[in-house]
Amino acid sequence: MAEFLINSGWNPNLAQIVASTLGAVVLASFGLVWVIFSIWLERKFAGRVQDRIGPNRTGPYGLFQTFADIGKLLTKEDITPKGADKHVYNFAPILAVAGIIAIFAVIPFNHAWVGADLNVGVLYFVAVGSLATLAILLAGWSSNNKYALLGAFRAIAALISYEVPMILSLAVPVLLAGSMSMQDIVKGQSIAYVFVVPVSALIFFVSQLAEVGRSPFDLIEAESEIIAGFNIEYSGMKFAMFYAGEFIHAFVICILTAVLFLGGWRGLGAGEPGYELFGFLMLMAKSVAVYAFVMLLRNTLPRIRIDHMMAFNWKFLVPLALVNLLVVTFLARPFVPDYAAAEALVAEGGLAGLVGTIFGAGFIAELPRAVVLLVANVILFIVATQLLHRYGEAQRSKLGVQAVPPMRATAMASD
């Protein structure tokens, strides 16, 4: 693109800027287009889970429902509460969306399609995500409303707490790939990291879920306790921006999980030169699969109480992430993948050659490390869940509550 403009006689700097701007607009609009679709998808999905049909009047299968909603929001009166801090109040919804959209800049869609492959890509998305956190604080404070302020502070306390296990679990893929660039992390995953360090993947996913404020961690908008939290005073399009921000964020965490732990655009030969579009579709397929899981969680789990949510973070996720980091630290070092040796092994033929031709040489290089870490992670997972189980039992017996056996529970539900 930039080359084309330079060739047609443009100033190189100007051409660079124009090309970057166009790229940025396309990439950022992708997020917005997705929101329009995903709102419909999510309502349809929720409908099915709750034994309803969901939107079905506007357009085929209710596909145009979101457009009708946009029309309604555009013509809705926008009320600014008395005593609000106007500039901050108006800026907060913009920042909430911008902070999330900005994450798209570092996501690798295939080996060539990436906005900017920064060598600090991983830190970039954490840092930019913290801007969205800031938006909640701005919204809550500027609304001049007790509930908004309370909601915002609760939300911030929860969000920053869940950033800790996220960062600790994020260090593991960085350590395995030896790079903070998102593209390098994808390239390092001949074996997807979810099969290497499932505990890290799980911690990352759970803490990201909490960052979005989705059920079961939707305390940010606990309508039964603080009516709606930080965005209570917002109406019309400004409220819609917070809403859109949440939807984009929900999908962004799915993409991030897919990129960091599910092998990104790799798999079945996808994303190799010549198969760019296939790579993009592969990443989208993985992300949508994670998204389906997120929707299922949202529609089936009850909300967790805030004190439980904080305790779960600080007393379970953070220690687990620390222990996991230490385990990986000491076990992974002797098995650093030697890609050159693996290539040579494959070239020799035999069993290694056969495996190598099916899965690629990178698979053989990473196999020993993957096996060792997987075993360690499974043991860690069993120990951790056993501890959690014991704790639950102890708490129940303290309260004198009998744990309901699964058989009994189904019988009660069918009554």
Binding site: N13, V88, L118, N119, V120, L123, Y124, V126, A127, V128, S130, L131, T133, L134, L137, L138, W141, F153, I156, I160, E163, S179, M180, S181
Partner: protein, 175 residues
């Protein structure tokens, strides 16, 4: 590499962020607004790090300063009722502040001038294009190398622990 107009423009933009944010911070009578101005100023500093080819420090700047320290400051503001209610900040100590600021500035400026003119100047001018992503790796190796920074590194962790213990002790004093 000769700085081009574009680089000067971006440099100027970040300078405006930093100085404007700084002035906003010290002149705003509302403490919450002061914290917000501080964010703009810190953001400008992050921009400077990018211009200096130190993207790692830029990311850390946003993450630690904007994401954590400003939040900490705002939480601290919210804990103090007296300060929140104020619309006019009665500042009786601005003279001391001014003296402190001038002295700090003078020391920094003097240090920079001395460092850049001596026998072995500390300021090494290196073209940005020669600095690569490897610098983060070098930093990581240097941090835990016996001959380099491993002792300060461990001391830093003890310092962090001391900070946390101190905060908990102070916060729990009244119970």
């Amino acid at each position: 590499m000769q700085p081009e107009f574009g680089q000067w423009f971006i440099f100027g933009l970040f300078t405006v962020f930093i100085i404007g944010g700084g002035i906003g911070t010290v002149t705003s009578s509302n403490l919450f607004h002061a914290a917000l101005w501080l964010i703009i100023s810190l953001f400008g500093v992050a921009g400077f790090f990018v211009l200096l080819a130190a993207p790692f420090l830029a990311a850390i700047q946003v993450l630690v300063y904007i994401g954590a320290i400003v939040v900490l400051i705002i939480f601290a503001i919210m804990l103090t009722r007296r300060l929140m209610g104020l619309r006019e900040a009665p500042n009786s100590q601005w003279a001391y502040g001014l003296v402190g600021a001038i002295v700090t500035f003078a020391v920094l400026a003097l240090g920079l001038v001395l460092a850049s003119t001596g026998e072995s100047p500390l300021l090494v001018s290196q073209p940005i294009s020669e600095i690569t992503g490897e610098s983060i790796r070098d930093l990581g190796i240097a941090l835990v190398d016996v001959n380099q920074y491993v002792l300060p590194f461990i001391v830093a962790s003890l310092l962090l622990e001391a900070a946390m213990v101190g905060a908990i002790v102070i916060a729990r004093e009244d119970e």
